[in-house]
């Protein structure tokens, strides 16, 4: 197993699910729930003659950052593209449930529990959404997870972390958007319909999924950051993600309301204003919107390294 200290400098993009889970919390503090030793593979894949994994493609558990208990969910894209099946779904749903139960128990015992002692949930996405082999169970898990996010609201911050190869697409794109805060590296991608599916449905003229530059300009983190779809853009290292989570871990829960994308009248108004802007602007490329946001040389900004991008990027105000 990779040493924790080596994990910190490792590329988040290059790290597998377990390394991400271990590296996002303090050294030696991670306890895995329902890990591979518990041998709970998908009951459906075997029947279909497909390969299974004993953790069903997701690492769940709890660790600490400083004094904060951190419930971690980390998906593995190399197993069926990180798709959500029945066991995978049960693991992610119940991890949030356990975090809420922990908070309730803490507060019942000590109503003055300091913010820094209260648990948070961190979800490292790498998924295309529902696993088609077990689609009903997968879809149900999406709904149950959304339900847990609603239950956690105002109690336990639920933070999305996106910087892995597959990105975060399909139903899980909705799930991420429903969470309190989203942290991405520049290699992270977030969306609903994946690029290949858009091309298949709408034609190559509409969206050329083999044009990775276009794909990244449309679904990639730099664009999401300018649009406000993601709250924080960090460097591609486990340590950088961890540092951002550590900052968020000590915030009062009320602070997360302002970071949310949905769930308030103000958020709805903002969405409607964005739709109106899209109609008015008729952008042909995301860079058109960047220019509208006040970025004078959007193409150069897109090519700029992280530090320069963060220093210069103007985010869209609506």
């Amino acid at each position: 197993m990779t040493k924790w200290t080596d994990l910190q400098s490792a590329s988040f993009l290059e790290s597998n699910a377990r390394d991400r889970a271990l590296g996002l919390v303090d050294e030696g503090s991670f306890t895995e729930f329902c890990g591979p030793m518990d041998r709970r593979p998908s009951p459906h894949l075997g029947v279909l003659g497909d390969a299974v994994e004993y953790d069903d493609g997701v690492v769940t558990g709890v660790g600490r950052i400083g004094e904060t208990p951190v419930f971690v969910i980390s998906q593995e894209g190399r197993f069926i593209g990180g798709a959500v099946g029945e066991v995978h779904g049960a693991k992610i749903v119940n991890t949030v449930r356990l975090a809420i139960e922990m908070l309730d128990a803490m507060v019942a015992k000590n109503p003055d529990t300091p913010e820094a002692h209260k648990p948070i949930v961190v979800f490292s996405f790498e998924t295309g959404g529902v696993r088609l082999h077990e689609a009903n169970a997968g879809l149900l898990a999406h709904a149950e997870f959304m339900d847990q996010v609603q239950k956690a609201r105002g109690k336990v911050p639920v933070i999305a972390v996106i910087g892995s190869k597959v990105g975060c697409f399909g139903g899980m794109g909705f799930v991420a958007a429903a969470m309190d805060a989203i942290v991405m590296s520049e290699f992270g991608r977030l969306g609903l319909t994946g690029p290949e599916v858009i091309e298949q449905e709408m034609g190559r003229e509409e969206f050329d999924s083999s044009d990775r530059g276009l794909v990244f300009r449309t679904t990639g983190a730099k664009h999401k950051y300018i649009m406000g779809d993601c709250n924080f853009l960090v460097k591609d290292s486990v340590a950088a993600f961890r540092a951002q989570i550590a900052d968020l871990a000590v915030l009062p829960i009320a602070d997360f309301e302002a970071m949310r994308r949905i769930g308030s009248e103000a958020a709805v108004d903002k969405q409607l204003a964005l739709v109106a802007l899209a109609v008015e602007l008729q952008p042909k490329d995301s860079l058109d919107v960047w220019a509208h946001a006040g970025n004078e040389a959007p193409a150069e900004l897109n090519d700029a390294p992280y530090e320069e991008f963060i220093a210069k990027a103007q985010r869209l105000a609506v």
Partner: protein, 557 residues
């Protein structure tokens, strides 16, 4: 005394060309320029039924506008053409046969149209001359397949008709030389016509007409491999190649193809290769397209020289900034040349390393599938032991001396031998077994009425097979039976591999004919992406100091 002197004109070809050019003269203006709207009429004027015609295009640059125009000619006037060309990757190339304009084809590489080639042969729409290697076909341009009309492509022409082919010179000089010096007609499509060229690659008096194409020619970034897609298994294979082959044989002069195994090896030279102390001892002279994944090795001082078959999109500025390494012109830009690179590839390499879809129990390998006539481009020229070679290098000598019973076969005369290596995972794409009892090439030969199954590399030319199970040193096998046993021993859980007998494999390991990663002292747990000097496209840009400009479709930003 016999009277054998014939009474004939010796200038028929010249007069024929003159007549055709006369018919075309009304379309040709100053500087040999033809308006692109007149292209179809020009082709109808200069081409006659049954002509041998070449459309330039290999696996990278394509005279695509001229190919499309040739499809629009009146088939009452032009039919039964005999196409001789490196490759037929464009739809338009095969449409010619569908439209009845062309009848016969001699080529080297099928690419995306390989399925249609097979189908058309079966349906009688296409008469196949032969599938060649590039060098073979180029040779025949100067022997029995000389084009009467060649449709070529270049970046720029000047106002006299001189051409600049620059970075992607590739096949152009070969085609033009064969055509023009046998009184043929050469028509060029260019991206733009300018006052002054960076340099002259093809002189104007070898060109008959120049057309400014309505759009730039199609260029495929075929040799760009994204480091992000290299897998841990490919890295394990790469470690075995470096430690078990490159190092021990001292492989200095070699070619790398487009497989991800070569990508892994290129990206591990500055890391694992350095650790093994191989810098300066391997990979100093290379014949390859400017692979972006070579940048880290070049930048860390591994490579002395690279000659290129063709160019690669986005590498122009990097290559122009490293003239000590690449062959560049007085203007500073690369000049690639497929014929010369293939010549070096055939005669002067220490080693060829590649991949394949299938290897049979004897070691024959082929990328042919039952319904695609794809051809092998240049691979067979490099993936063989060049019998005409006479110069000696360390690895060539060493490999030649390995045959244990060489005196029984060759007598007392010492010989050298090229290393020909296939690196494959035992199960390939779609979990298809790579090791098979019989190649699909046999079925293809039947389906497409070919005289022989198309084999990329013959078993007796193959010296090494590398799989995740280990390396089979076929060069150390005295006979066919022991070669087959060595192949079985590295074929894993394929049907062929399951026939291996454990005690026999053990004996082969003891004899050094099979080496597993453990036998080579390789720790499998180290075989992961942390060994790659660049892990994504952006890392390559950084290594290049910003000189590499990846095509948009490869950017992960």
């Amino acid at each position: 005394m016999l009277q054998t002197k014939v009474n004939r004109s010796w200038e028929n070809a010249k007069q024929d060309t003159a007549q055709r050019m006369e018919a075309a003269s009304r379309f040709i203006g100053n500087g040999k320029q033809v308006k692109h709207e007149d292209t179809v009429a020009l082709l109808e004027a200069v081409i006659r039924p049954y002509d041998i015609v070449n459309i330039e295009g290999n696996n990278q640059k394509q005279a695509d506008f001229l190919a499309e125009c040739l499809n629009k000619v009146d088939r009452g006037k032009i039919h039964d053409l005999h196409m001789v060309q490196s490759a037929v990757p464009l739809k338009a190339h095969l449409d010619l046969f569908e439209n009845g304009i062309a009848k016969k084809l001699d080529f080297a590489f099928g690419g995306p149209q390989a399925g249609r080639v097979a189908e058309f042969i079966r349906d009688g729409k296409l008469e196949l001359g032969a599938i060649h290697t590039y060098l073979e076909l180029f040779g025949r341009y100067f022997l029995d397949l000389t084009p009467k009309v060649s449709l070529i492509c270049a970046y720029k022409a000047d106002r006299k008709g001189n051409l600049y082919t620059g970075f992607n010179t590739e096949d152009t000089p070969t085609i033009v030389e064969a055509t023009k010096f046998r009184q043929g007609i050469v028509i060029a499509q260019v991206n733009e016509i300018v006052d002054e060229l960076p340099r002259v690659d093809i002189p104007a008096d070898w060109i008959d007409a120049v057309i400014e194409s309505p759009r730039p020619f199609f260029l495929e970034p075929l040799f760009t491999r994204d480091p992000a897609l290299v897998t841990d298994t490919q890295i394990l294979l790469g470690m075995m190649c470096l430690k078990g082959i490159y190092g021990p044989y001292g492989v200095k002069r070699l070619n790398h193809g487009i497989g991800f195994l070569s990508t892994a090896i290129e990206l591990m030279l500055p890391t694992y290769g350095e650790e093994l102390g191989l810098k300066g001892k391997i990979c100093t002279h290379m014949i390859l397209n400017p692979h972006p994944t070579m940048i880290p090795a070049i930048e860390s001082g591994w490579v002395e020289t690279i000659h290129c078959f063709g160019g690669e999109l986005g590498m122009d500025e990097y290559v122009a900034s490293r003239p000590d390494i690449f062959f560049t012109g007085p203007d500073g830009t690369l000049r690639s040349n497929r014929a010369f690179a293939q010549t070096a590839g055939h005669y002067a390499l220490d080693m060829f390393i590649g991949g394949t879809l299938q290897i049979d129990k004897y070691g024959n390998s082929s990328t042919a599938t039952a319904n695609r006539v794809a051809g092998f481009g240049g691979a067979p020229n490099m993936g063989c032991d060049a019998k005409g070679r006479r110069h000696v290098t360390e690895s060539w000598l060493k490999c030649g001396q390995e045959l244990p019973n060489r005196e029984a076969i060759q007598g007392d005369m010492p010989r050298g031998r090229r290393l020909v290596v296939q690196g494959v995972e035992t199960f390939g794409e779609g979990r298809a077994p790579v090791f098979v009892d019989k190649l699909d090439a046999w079925k293809l030969a039947e389906n497409a009425n070919l005289d022989l199954p198309p084999v990329m590399i013959y078993g007796d030319d193959l010296t090494h097979i590398v799989t995740e199970e280990g390396i089979a040193y076929l060069s150390r096998c005295p006979d066919l039976e022991s070669r087959m046993a060595a192949i079985r021993g590295v074929a894993g859980y394929t049907e062929i591999g399951l026939q291996a007998k454990p005690e026999e494999t053990k004996r082969l390991r003891e004899a050094g004919i099979i080496m597993t990663p453990e036998d080579l002292g390789i720790d499998r747990s180290r075989a992961n992406r942390s060994l790659l000097a660049a892990k994504n496209m952006q890392d390559l840009v950084t290594w290049s100091g910003g000189l590499y400009n990846p095509p948009a479709r490869f950017r992960n930003w």
